[in-house]
């Protein structure tokens, strides 16, 4: 059987709002994942089970339906796991991120089909049916990748590639030409170059979250007590009557998500059910959901009714954490009416803005504050134009790992061809971004730098 060793993961449904999203995982890790999510060591194949998806750090991501497929009778022929979660791109992304941390890697376009074919799992009709789909999808992703590679990201990645090739060529010259009259081998120079490569790769990688924020939108959650005016605020920001507004507390029971452009940023803005205890079963579910949404938010706007006394009930822990990281705005609503006392000590680290969802006062300040938080908290400093996507970040992380291993051997003075083999792996990771690099390029550099030959 064809066996790749790697486990791959990718969403099987398009990246848009829908009731349900499916994430597919294929490879040896699936068995372990099934055990983790089911809590059982042996699971019945092909039988769906319901469970909580908790990420490695224990945070609940979503409640999902899992379907395990055993090796030999899955789409790809390998062990597989299908994860059905809510069709919210934010949730899908968090789950994927977590799968990557657990050792999966992002699937290449068409990779599931490739594995299926190589394992003899795909008959002709299936193959033809997916052919167009893959063609269309990989086209889109190639085009997107190409556009990126032509631009600033391409320049940044190519500069890493050039530098890596130079280090490789230097090492290879001393391996392949022992009889040549080469200058004494410099041990420190290549080490320094690799270290600087690593830190530049790290800088690039650090732009991935911001880049994802720009591409997919910042998850902005409007939270607060019932009747604080959350739905009113959503409507005011959208400029339309999207959410039902009423004086009755507990009007919003399930969350509502909308896209909104604020300044140069895309927001995925979510109106949630008000946070309170004992409001009936349906409302409780809604509130549990609100807590989850807060936990995964990029930004939270905590709406407070300025005419009411400050809330005495406990705020969710995750909200306090977000606030400490400067990601919470406290919107003191209904400023058109006489106000209660100040709310300064409510949430340390949060910004306070007084506004009115009815008159629109304070809304420009709110918009500015949101943009400012995205730029100041998520953007890596000094990387205005270069932003890498998650797939690139993953490749860069792998490259850094390989370089770290090479550095270790070089510092310990181990045989040169061993470090060279790590550097080759590092190059392989960059090839995931730039495509195959011809080995001739290394030789070109060797021959242009050193006078070699009889």
């Amino acid at each position: 059987m064809y066996f790749d060793g790697d486990s791959i993961a990718a969403p099987a449904t398009p990246a848009a709002e829908s009731a349900l999203a499916i994430i597919r995982v294929s490879g040896p890790l699936c068995k372990e994942l099934s055990a983790v999510f089911s809590g059982k060591m042996s699971i019945e194949p092909r039988k769906a089970f319901y469970g909580a998806y908790r990420s490695l750090d224990g945070v609940l991501q979503d409640c999902c339906v899992f379907i395990p497929y055993p090796q030999g009778s899955s789409y790809t022929g390998e062990s597989m796991l299908e994860i059905c979660c809510h069709g919210n791109p934010i949730i899908v992304r968090s789950i994927l991120d977590d799968l990557f941390r657990r050792g999966c890697r992002a699937a290449e376009p068409g990779e599931f089909t490739r594995r299926a074919f190589l394992n003899g799992r795909m008959d002709l009709t299936q193959a033809e049916a997916v052919q167009d789909l893959i063609a269309a999808r990989s086209r889109a992703s190639i085009d997107a990748a190409q556009r990126q590679l032509d631009g600033s990201v391409g320049r940044a990645v190519n500069s890493l590639l050039e530098r890596l090739l130079n280090v490789i060529a230097y090492a290879e010259a001393y391996i392949d030409f022992p009889e040549e009259d080469l200058p004494p081998e410099d041990k420190d120079g290549p080490i320094a170059q690799l270290v600087s490569l690593q830190s530049d790769a790290k800088r690039l990688m650090a732009t991935a979250p911001y880049s994802a924020l720009l591409r997919e939108g910042a998850r902005t959650v409007i939270a607060g007590l019932p009747n604080a005016g959350k739905s009113s605020l959503l409507n005011a920001l959208l400029g339309e009557e999207r959410a039902i507004v009423s004086a009755e507390p507990g009007t919003t029971r399930d969350y509502i998500e909308e896209r909104l452009i604020v300044g140069r940023h895309l927001l995925r803005i979510v109106d949630t059910a008000g946070l309170r205890e004992g409001g009936g079963e349906i409302e409780d579910k809604g509130i549990e959901k609100s807590r989850q949404l807060i936990a995964h938010a990029d930004i939270v706007i905590l709406v407070i009714d300025g005419t009411a006394p400050p809330p005495c009930q406990e705020l969710p822990v995750s909200l306090r954490e977000l606030s400490a990281r400067g990601l919470v705005i406290v919107a003191i609503n209904k400023c058109d009416l006489p106000q209660e006392k100040p709310f300064d000590e409510l949430l340390p680290g949060a910004r306070l803005i007084r506004l009115s969802a009815i008159t629109g006062e304070g809304l420009p300040e709110l918009r500015d504050a949101v943009c400012d938080i995205i730029d100041s908290r998520y953007k890596a400093p000094g990387q205005d134009d270069v932003l890498v996507c998650a797939r690139h970040a993953e490749a860069l992380a792998n490259m850094s790992d390989s370089i770290a291993q090479a550095l270790d051997k070089m510092r310990r003075g181990e045989a040169a061809e061993l470090a060279a083999s790590d550097l080759r792996d590092a190059l392989g990771s960059l090839e995931q971004i730039v495509g195959r690099v011809d080995s001739e390029r290394v030789l070109d550099l060797v021959f242009s730098k050193f006078c070699i030959g009889k």
Partner: protein, 638 residues
């Protein structure tokens, strides 16, 4: 009579250089009725350039040739006059043996080996054309008018296809100094639709040793304990053909006598290859050399615009070095002896296409060569080659069935690269005649596999030479493991005697067994494997292990010491195994694959990969392209 239309040979090999000799021997050893035609059978296996065999990556190839039952390794061992292991300061995977050979003895021994080979007929004639059937080859026509028919033909013509030699502005037709050139064979190949291009290579001057002042040079002696190229553990030194030998008593009288022991089984008591080695000597160019060259650049064939062929980057002429590395004060030169029975010396590092008088000035500027007498001038040679993307990985041409190419005609350089291809061509011609599937070593099991795969998937823009950095699985290709990597294939193909085949399989089993047992046996502070990896010795190793052959012991230790790296390489290999298996038919139409990027499509059409693994190695082809191909291939197989 063999060779007629009704009773054709199985295999005809045209050209008896390093590729041709291995091709003919392999075919004949596989039971083929084989004809080896050479324009001059006094120049069989001639070392046209330097007198050395092996070196980095090339030495690996020679050991692989031995593992496959070829002749180059034994021929080198028994005619060598100096042995050196290169890269001793690095790890075992990139160490490589090199030897200086007695050029004449090398030729004579190879010729005698061919003569002794049952089923092989050696014949002197110049092949002037190929005889074609429809889409296939049927034989060769010769300059003496005779025609010879065969089921397969292997062309190994080296630099002889429209060879043109340059010394300054002076041009002489010929594949090598003092030899003819094949003028008409090229057009016969073109008739079959094979496209030819030009390449260039060169060779330095030869000097008379008694006029060289070695006293001012640095001596480079051979290794006291030489490692031989062939794996003799299973055979013992060959007694059937002569070897070059010098008795210790005669050693005092330096280079006075060389001794060739003809006969079978005759050997001076106590003689072993590697005894009584000769040294090489090192000197260098200086500022005066530089001046002379720069002043006379316009006279060089290369810089004067006389040469159209592309020369190799790794073997630049001295004028090239001076121009490209203008800030280097001096360039190193080696004086290498060409044999025991001659006082001719090869000047390694001084390739040039300057006119004769300038060459002399250049030589005389070099310390130790002030009074050196030139015996042969340096020259550059241009010749036809066929871009190797026109052949299958089993070295058969795509245009003509039964026609195989090996050696410099495929754009390679070097005796070793040629011999490796010759061997593979001979094997595959034989397999074709037998009606069996072709066989090519894979990239992860041999440098020969890397060589051939690079050639047929990427083609070459310069004479292709092997470097270890070309092999992505270099750590799996340490020279000592060649017999284990390729021996089992050779045994299956019938290239080894039954005794050697059995011994190879035994050795392989023993190495694998002991590599595993090292992880179980106890040693101070853990298992023996861990002990070895921490730099521990073999004190705790069982006596049975120490009783293994040196090569087997070394290999076990290599596998234990580098276990982590080797495992990682093997994981990389198994990742590719799936795509390796999916072949792309020659007739596959890339235009019908939807979604393929134009750039990839062009490259795939140009390179015509045989399988998906080859396709994925083409630069710029992305994993997404490969996925598209997979599906397109799947839907095609109805």
């Amino acid at each position: 009579m063999t060779g007629t239309e009704n009773n054709p040979y199985d295999v005809i090999v045209c050209g008896a250089g390093h590729a041709g000799c291995e091709a003919a021997l392999a075919a004949a050893r596989m039971g083929m009725r084989t004809l080896l035609i050479s324009g001059n059978i006094d120049t069989i296996a001639k070392m046209s350039c330097n007198p050395s065999i092996g070196g980095q990556a090339k030495g690996h190839i020679v050991r692989e040739i031995d593992a496959l039952g070829g002749e180059m390794a034994v021929n080198t061992d028994t005619t060598a006059i100096q042995f050196r292991m290169l890269n001793e300061s690095k790890g075992p995977a990139v160490q490589a043996p090199r030897a200086q050979c007695d050029k004449k003895a090398y030729q004579l021994r190879m010729k005698h080996t061919l003569e002794l080979q049952p089923g092989l007929h050696l014949f002197q004639a110049i092949v002037s054309r190929l005889i074609y059937g429809t889409g296939c080859v049927r034989g060769v026509g010769t300059s003496i008018g005779a025609e010879f028919y065969a089921k397969t033909v292997i062309v190994t013509t080296g630099t002889f296809l429209r060879g043109l030699m340059h010394i300054g502005k002076n041009k002489t037709e010929g594949g090598r100094s003092g030899d003819f050139s094949a003028q008409t064979l090229s057009s016969s190949l073109k008739d079959a639709g094979i496209a030819l291009d030009r390449l260039k290579t060169g060779t330095p001057a030869r000097l008379l040793g008694s006029t060289i002042d070695f006293a001012v040079m640095e001596e480079q002696p051979g290794d006291a304990q030489p490692l031989l190229f062939a794996f003799y553990d299973t055979r013992g030194l060959p007694d059937d053909v002569f070897h070059v030998e010098q008795s210790p008593a005669m050693a005092a009288a330096e280079r006075l006598l060389f001794h060739v022991e003809q006969g079978r089984g005759m050997r001076r008591p106590g003689w072993l290859p590697g005894m009584e080695q000769l040294s090489c000597w090192m000197t260098h160019t200086n500022a005066r050399t530089r001046e002379i060259i720069i002043e006379n650049l316009h006279c060089s064939a290369l810089y004067g615009g006389e040469i159209q062929g592309v020369g190799p980057r790794y073997c630049p002429s001295i004028e090239d070095k001076m121009v490209r590395f203008a800030n280097h004060e001096r360039h190193r030169l080696f004086l290498e002896p060409e044999g025991r029975g001659t006082d001719e010396w090869y000047v390694n590092g001084l390739s040039t296409s300057m006119p004769f008088d300038v060459q002399q000035k250049i030589l005389h500027s070099v310390p130790g060569l002030e009074n050196a007498l030139m015996m042969r001038p340096a020259y550059a040679v241009e010749y036809d080659f066929a871009q190797p993307t026109q052949i299958h990985s089993w070295l058969e041409t795509r245009q003509v069935e039964g026609l195989f190419f090996a050696g410099q005609i495929n754009g390679t350089s070097g005796y070793e690269e040629a011999a490796g291809q010759g061997l593979v061509a001979g094997i595959n011609a034989a397999l074709k005649v037998r009606g069996e599937p072709h066989w090519v070593p894979a990239r992860h099991e041999s440098y020969i596999g890397v060589l051939i795969d690079d050639l047929v998937t990427k083609g070459t823009q310069e004479p292709y030479r092997m470097f270890t950095s070309r092999a992505e699985h270099r750590l799996l290709l340490n020279h000592n493991s060649a017999e284990l990597r390729l021996g089992p294939h050779a045994a299956r193909l019938g290239l080894l005697t039954p005794a050697r085949a059995a011994a190879v399989l035994r050795k392989k089993a023993a190495v694998e067994d002991w590599s595993a047992r090292f992880e179980q046996l106890a040693a101070p502070g853990g298992k023996l494997g861990d002990h070895i990896r921490k730099g521990g010795g073999l004190d705790a190793a069982p006596a049975e292990f120490l009783a293994l052959s040196e090569s087997a012991r070394e290999e076990v230790l290599y596998r234990v010491r580098y276990r982590g790296y080797i495992d990682r390489e093997l994981r990389h290999v198994s990742k590719l195994a799936g795509v390796e298996r999916v072949s792309i038919p020659d007739t596959f139409d890339y235009a019908t694959v939807p979604g393929l990027r134009n750039e990839s499509r062009q490259k795939l059409i140009r390179h015509r990969p045989e399988n998906l693994a080859q396709a994925s190695r083409i630069s710029g082809v992305s994993p997404a392209d490969i996925s598209l191909l997979i599906v397109a291939l799947a839907s095609r197989n109805t």
